[in-house]
Structure formats: C-alpha cells, structure tokens
C-alpha cells in the first residue's frame, strides 16, 4: 500500500501540528470522503490513530511509525484535551496562509512549534511561538528574506504577559535552542521581522492593548482575526 503525494503531505502536516481534526484534514485532502479514505489507509499502515476526543469531528494523530515514516523525531503522543482548541486554531491559520497565492509563489516554509520545541533544550522555560514562516530571499514579494513569528490567541492572557511575549519575540536575535548568550544580543538584527497575532474575539482586546504598550516595536505586530474553521 502506498500513499498519494497529497496524502503524504497531509500526513506530514498532521505530524507537525500534533494532530488534526477531520474537517481540516478534509480541506487538505480535497473532501470528506478522501479524508476518511486517507485516515483508513494510514491506520492500516500503522501510521496514524483516530478517536473522537471531544465534541465535534474526530481527531487524527500520527503514531511513532508514522513519525518515523515522515522523518520526524518527535515523541509520539495523543493530542492533549486542553490543547485541542489551540491546535485547531494554529492548524487553521497555517491552512489559510498556505492557501494564499503569495505564499505558494514564494515557496515559503512553515516551521511548526513542534519542530522548534524538538530543537529546543528540555527543561528551559521559554516562550515558543506557535510557528514561524520563513520567506526565501529569492521570493517575489516585498518581504522576502523575513522570518515571521505566528501566535494564535484563542483565550486571553493578561496584558502584561502578552506584552512580555511580544517583546521577547521581537527582540530575539538567536534561533530557539541556541546558547543563552546568543538569544538576545544587542546590535544584531532581530530574528523575527514581524509577529502575526491571530486572535479570537475574546483575546482581541488584550492583544491590541498589549501592542499599544510596545511603543515603536508595535509597528512590527500584525493583528488579525482567526480564520474560519479555527474554532469548532
């Protein structure tokens, strides 16, 4: 049994995003029927597992064998219940962004949080973005060469905490997992040219208030609504 190219991409997507609900899988595979067929094939191969974890559509996540097939060295685990809403929001954000013409023309790259976390040292408490979008230098867009930090805000934090996270993202100079001395070095260009905040209605006010406290750095914060499908 072999995987179609589209199925393989969807499997890697599910592996990178911790898991994926069936309605979003349908968007990736081209429909409900093809999504169910893909899930069935993956289950038969031992690459994925499915279950109805909460109200709404069932969820699919990639097993250890599937992660090995995808070439990912993550620890295989079922998506945790408290994180389902956030995982769905981030996945919807990625699907919406990857569907744009500019993203495809530029061959941009989404570096997911799971990948960042895998490189990041264990036991170090540090905020990690929900994803990074790398725009190649040769991309035919004005922001070619930039790295964006993506944050999906489903539930509101405090304004102070959100401001601190924004400041940390915008002043960071080193990659995640780099030596502590390189994380924020004055004089070096920042790692993230901008931070993109996708907010639920509940979190929008907090994020806007936090951005207002940033001063000149606020120009590098983009605030938008979460795309359709981000919330069940």
């Amino acid at each position: 049994m072999t995987l179609a190219v589209r199925d393989a991409d969807a499997l890697v997507f599910a592996a990178d995003m911790y898991g994926i609900p069936f309605d979003q899988l349908a968007v990736l595979t081209g429909g409900d029927r093809s999504a169910r067929a893909a899930a069935r094939r993956w289950r038969d191969l031992g690459y994925a597992d499915t279950a109805r974890l909460t109200e709404g559509p069932a969820w699919l996540w990639v097993t250890r064998a599937g992660l090995a097939a995808c070439g990912r060295e993550y620890q295989a685990r079922k998506p945790a219940l408290p994180q389902l809403a956030h995982i769905r929001a981030v996945a919807a954000t990625r699907i919406a962004l990857e569907a744009t013409g500019a993203y495809r023309r530029a061959s941009a790259f989404w570096r997911c949080e799971r990948r960042i976390r895998a490189r990041h040292g264990r036991g170090i408490r540090q905020h990690l973005p929900d994803g990074e979008v790398h725009w190649p230098d040769s991309a035919p867009v004005a922001w070619a060469g930039e790295c964006w930090a993506i944050e999906a805000e489903v539930t509101p934090k405090t304004v102070a905490r959100t401001t601190a996270i924004m400041r940390e993202i915008l002043t960071r100079t080193g990659d995640y997992g780099c030596p502590a001395a390189e994380a924020a070095v004055p004089g070096r260009p920042p790692r993230h040219a901008r931070a993109l905040y996708l907010c639920s209605p509940a979190a929008l006010t907090t994020v806007l208030n936090a951005r207002a406290l940033l001063g000149p750095l606020a120009a590098r914060i983009e605030v938008r609504d979460l795309p359709p499908g981000a919330q069940p």
């Binding site: 919406a96 744009t100 922001w143 002043t171 030596p179 001395a181 120009a219 983009e222 938008r224």
Partner: protein, 655 residues
C-alpha cells in the same frame, strides 16, 4: 613469713607448645571459616566481588551498603513471588509431579510464611543441585535474590574492617603497611575520580538539585560524599568569601574558571526563577600581560556557555567611569590612588586632601572626567568659582594653599597618564554580566595597586544599589595586597551583597602581615581551596583536628613484629599537609567547617575551543563591545507592507 603469689608464672607454659597450640586453633578457625564460605558459595562470591570492587575503586564502605540496599527490591519481589506462587502447583511439584522442573528456585509447599522463611534455604538447595548438574548460570540465577544483597553487605563489612585495621595501624604485616596501603588507596581513588571526569555527562556544571559541581571527589574527611561521587557545593557558599591558594601550574585557573562559571550559571538560574538578583562577576587579574589576556578570553567563552550575556575585558575593550562615585567617596578614592607619606610628609597629605576636596566639591558640581578634574587644579579658577558662590572660607583656603597646587596637579597628571583611559570612560559595572579586569601587577605594580583600589571602590559603590549579586574575584592578590586592604572590604561586603574570592600562589601572598593573612583566611566562610603549595601548615591549623587511633607494635627482636601492642587516641590535623604537598595538577583540597574534600577538578572548555580556528581568525567570536552603556539599537523602520497575503488569508487588519 613468705608472700604467696596468686597469679600464674609468666613462664609456666612451654613457649613451643604455646605457639603450636595457638597455630592449631588458628588453623582450625580458618578451616571452619573456609567450610562456611564454601557452603555459602554464592554469598561468598558476591562478598568477594563487592570487597574487590570497594578496594579497586577506593569506595567508602557505605557505598557498598547502598548497593546492598538497592538490591533489596529484587529480594522483596522474589519473596513476594514465592509467597504468591499457587499452592497447588507448588504442592504437586513437591510430590514429584512433572511440573517440578518448571518451578522457580525457592518455591515450595507450605503456608505463605513458611515459604518466605524457607525460601533462602530452598534457593540455596536448588542452586547446589543445579550446579551439581553443571548448570552454573542457572545456579547463579537461583541463588542471586538472597545471595547478592547478603554478599554485598558482607563484602562491605569486610572492606570496612580492612579499612579500620589499616586506619588504626593494626593491620598489615609490618608497621609500614598502613602507610603503604593508604598511598595505594589514594592512587586508586584518584583513578576512580579521573574515570568519573572522563565519563561524558557525568559532571554537569550544575547538578539536578542546583549544586555547583566542581569535579569528582577523591577522598573526604568529615564531609559527605567520597570517591566516585561528584564534588559539589551549594551556591550560597560561592556567595560567601572564599580563599584559593595554589602554586603556578597546579590548576588554579581551571578551578577558578569552574567556580566562576558555576556562580554565573547558578546565579542566572536563581534570577530566572525570580528568587535572586542577576549575578555579576568581577575578576581582578593582578598579574597582567599576555597570559592574563588568554585567561580573559577563556573566561569569556566559559561564561558565555554558562549563560552570561556579555563579558567585558577591562581596560582593553571596556572602560569604567571613576567619576560616577559620589563626591565624598571620590575624594577618598582619588587620595588613595596616590601614595602619600606619614610623619613629616603628613603636612603635604593634608594640603593635597584640601585641594582635592575643593576641586571635587566646586560649586559647579563634581568633575566628569580626568581632564575636567585636572583643569580644576588651578587656584585662579577654583578661587573664582567659589567666590562666585560667595564661599569666602574656601577662597581663603585656596589662597593659603596656592603653592601646593602645582605639585598636586603634577602628581595627578602623572597618575592619569599611567592609569590610562580605563577609569575615564562611560561604562558601569551594570553594563555586563561579567567584568574581567587585567591589572599589570607584574610590569607596573604601583599602577596595578592604584587600579585595584579604584575598581574595588567603584564596585563597592555599585554594590550599594543592591541590584546584583556580586562576586569579586581577586587573582594573584599578592601583586596588589600592599595597598588593597581586602579584609576591610570583607567586613562590609556581606551587608553589600558582595562576596570576595581571593586567590594567591602561597599563604604569604594573601597579605603583607600574618595578622591580615589569618584575618582573610579565618573569615572565608565559603571555604578554602588549597592546591599544591609548599606551605599548607597555616591552613591545616585553621582546618582543625580530628581524633585518630595510633597503634604501636612490639618488636620481638627477631623475625616479624609481634601481634601485641598498644593503641591510643590522639588529635591529628583534618587536612593532611603531606597530601596537599603532593597534590597533582588539577587536584585541590576544599576545606570547610572542619572537614576537607580532596577534589579532581573538572576542566571547563569554552564552546569555541572545540573548533579549530582558521588561520588568521580571532580565537573567539568577539562579543559586542560594552565599553559604553549598552542600549538596544534604535527601532528599525517598519517592515514592508504584507497586506497582500495577510488580507487574503485572514481579512482586514485589526487596530
């Protein structure tokens, strides 16, 4: 009247018969012991292996006891299995049923308590039966659950007995045997410590419970831990005064680097947890020259790996401003920078103090740089300045001391020319996580003394703000000890949140007088590190004494020494001065609270040191300069408009 003696005559027994009888009973005892050992062969083998491991690694007996304790879960699980084994199966096996061969060793019929009580005996029987049939591996497995913990315990007891006999001088064939045993034990303990150093990841800089690991323990007296264990000290000890003494080439710099990196890493961990202020390390390297620059570079790399954001090298790459001191303190510091006499020369000292006070306290405010200060040493300017503010007394003082201005100006001009620009910049200790200050103590002793004095005054002033947890490390202290009364700083450092670490090549290098040396060493609450040094006596005295059993032996005149003698208890130093004199490179004795731990220090290497630099490259990547107050660069221009993609994906921007 004849006196009657009740005790037996000393020579009533025949000496030959006495020796023969004694030999016979000893042989009988040995034979009995050998019989028991053979009968309990599994236990004997485990005991022999444990004692041999203790001897080979130089472990303390308690480590073998710990191993025996860790084996107990295995025994408990085995006993539980024996007790819970189905009675029907066990009973049928005992009756000769075909299942007998499938039963595990130790299982047999009877109520559960009888099974548990009889399990060791049954396992012992089973192991002998298996061994008799040639199944040696199966016999070992059958006997292991009860035999291994018992054997390890017996091995520990035997090893402890051996150590006790040797420590008290009662063991060995000759009186020299205990000393030979101890020197060989030391070599094996060193080998064990070096093996631990070589094991990858065995000695992290910070242990899981937050202790600063300095290396592997070789031996400890009155301290916890021992051979084969990490030698670690809690962070608060690095926040107390410490003394490091060691000759050149004994690994002092390696030890200091480890302590500094540990201070930085543990301090940053506490700071990240919100429990402490950010750490600040200030090193005064009073030797100077190219070697100090190399150490500075190595320090920077090591501290960088420990998490330090930036390390400033003073005065090569960064400078400080003496003029940030408050006016009163500035006057004192400026006067201390210049050597002045006593007795008849005290008059000139008073004149200088008056002139400097007037220059610093001028109505226009204190000077902001050396040029400003030198410009004020002009009686005309000073008089005009004070006259404008209506201070007639000051004007009168200036006029009366007019003749002294030229001399004072000349001396300060020469001083600033020799000091250079290191104290005339705009930096502050708060600009970096670590400052490595290179003082040219070897080439220009007087200049180094003045610099050390100015830097400690600046640091003491900065410490008053209470923003940082500071460790001041003074390396090669003897070069500046004449004019840097560090013990004065000791006394007020605790209140300032400032810890002082003094290192010298010898006891004499700690201070000029013996009183000051003792004062420095006695107040080292964080402990004293002693590397190889020819005169460890004073530190040995400070470390205190312990009781020691000393045994003498009677020499019969021919052949071997007799088995009888006398033991007595006497006090000996906790710190063995002979061991200190013979320490190898990288070995240190850590003296703390009446105990001592001998440590094989783990060397730290900076991350870049692992990479071979290309020809012409700098040995390390330079960090951003911190000579001027560090500021973030101005905000970059807004990024280009990406509405094209964002609007398409997420709709309009939210403001």
């Amino acid at each position: 009247m004849r006196a009657v003696r009740r005790e037996r005559d000393r020579y009533a027994r025949h000496p030959v018969r006495h020796v023969l009888a004694r030999g016979f009973w000893r042989l009988l005892g040995l034979a009995a012991l050998a019989a028991v050992a053979a009968a309990l062969a599994p236990v004997t083998l485990a005991a022999a292996a444990a004692a041999a491991a203790g001897w080979w690694r130089g472990w303390p007996p308690r480590r073998l006891y710990a191993v025996a304790a860790w084996c107990l879960p295995m025994t408990a699980a085995w006993l539980a299995t024996v007790a819970a084994w189905p009675a029907r199966v066990a009973g049928s096996a005992a009756a000769g049923a075909p299942l007998a061969g499938a039963l595990p060793a130790g299982v047999g019929p009877g109520p559960w308590w009888l099974r548990v009580a009889a399990a060791p005996y049954r396992a012992w029987l089973a192991s002998w039966q298996l061994a008799a049939h040639g199944h040696l591996a199966a016999a070992a497995v059958a006997a292991a659950p009860p035999a291994v913990p018992l054997g390890v315990l017996a091995g520990g007891l035997a090893w402890q007995y051996r150590l006790f006999r040797m420590r008290t001088g009662a063991g060995g064939l000759t009186p020299a045997a205990p000393a030979t045993f101890d020197s060989r034990l030391w070599r094996r303990q060193v080998r064990t410590a070096k093996a631990l150093l070589a094991a990858p990841g065995a000695l992290p800089l910070i242990s899981r419970n937050g202790l600063v690991v300095t290396g592997a323990a070789i031996r400890s007296v009155r301290h916890r831990g021992g051979p084969g264990r990490a030698a670690a000290i809690p962070y608060p000890r690095l926040r107390s005064h410490q003394v490091v003494i060691g000759s050149t080439g004994t690994g002092k710099t390696t030890l200091l680097l480890r302590l500094w990196a540990g201070f930085m890493a543990a301090g940053l961990r506490g700071y990240a947890a919100g429990g402490a202020n950010r750490p600040l390390l200030v090193v005064l390297d009073c030797k100077g020259g190219a070697s100090s620059r190399k150490v500075a570079d190595r320090t920077r790399r090591v501290l960088r790996d420990a998490g330090a954001r930036s390390t400033a090298i003073w005065p090569d790459e960064a400078s400080l401003s003496l003029w940030t001191l408050p006016p009163g303190q500035l006057v004192t510091t400026l006067l201390d920078l210049i050597e002045h006499g006593t007795g008849g020369a005290a008059y000139y000292t008073d004149v200088m103090e008056a002139i400097v006070s007037l220059a610093v306290g001028a109505p226009c405010g204190p000077p902001v740089c050396s040029a400003d200060f030198l410009a004020r040493l002009d009686p005309g300017w000073l008089a005009a300045s004070y006259a404008a503010s209506g201070d007639g007394a000051a004007v009168a003082t200036i006029r009366s001391g007019k003749r002294g201005f030229e001399d004072v100006e000349l001396r300060f001009r020469a001083l600033w020319r020799r000091l250079g620009a290191g104290l005339d910049g705009g930096g502050s200790f708060g600009d970096a996580d670590a400052w490595y200050c290179v003082l040219e103590g070897t080439a220009e002793g007087a200049v180094a003394e003045a610099q050390a004095r100015a830097l400690t005054d600046l640091l003491a002033h900065y410490a008053v703000s209470g923003q940082r947890e500071i460790l001041l490390a003074v390396d090669e202290f003897s070069a500046v000890s004449r004019r840097l009364p560090i013990w004065r700083l000791y006394e007020r450092a605790r209140a300032l949140g400032l810890a002082v670490q003094v290192s010298a090549q010898s006891w004499e290098g700690l201070a000029d007088t013996d009183d000051e040396r003792h004062r420095i060493a006695a107040t080292a609450e964080g402990g004293i590190w002693l590397l190889r040094t020819p005169r460890p006596g004073p530190v040995s005295e400070l470390a205190g004494t312990r009781s020691y059993v000393d045994t003498t032996r009677r020499f019969a005149g021919q052949g071997a020494w007799a088995g009888d003698g006398m033991s007595r208890t006497r006090l000996v130093p906790v710190l063995d001065a002979d061991i200190v004199r013979q320490l190898d490179v990288g070995q240190a004795a850590y003296v703390y609270r009446g105990g001592v731990t001998y440590v094989q220090v783990k060397r730290l290497t900076g991350r870049q040191a692992a990479l071979a630099p290309a020809a012409g490259d700098a040995p390390t990547m330079p960090l951003p300069a911190v000579a001027v107050p560090t500021q973030w660069p101005p905000a970059p221009p807004p990024p280009p408009d990406a509405s094209e993609v964002l609007d398409e994906a997420f709709g309009a921007r939210r403001e």
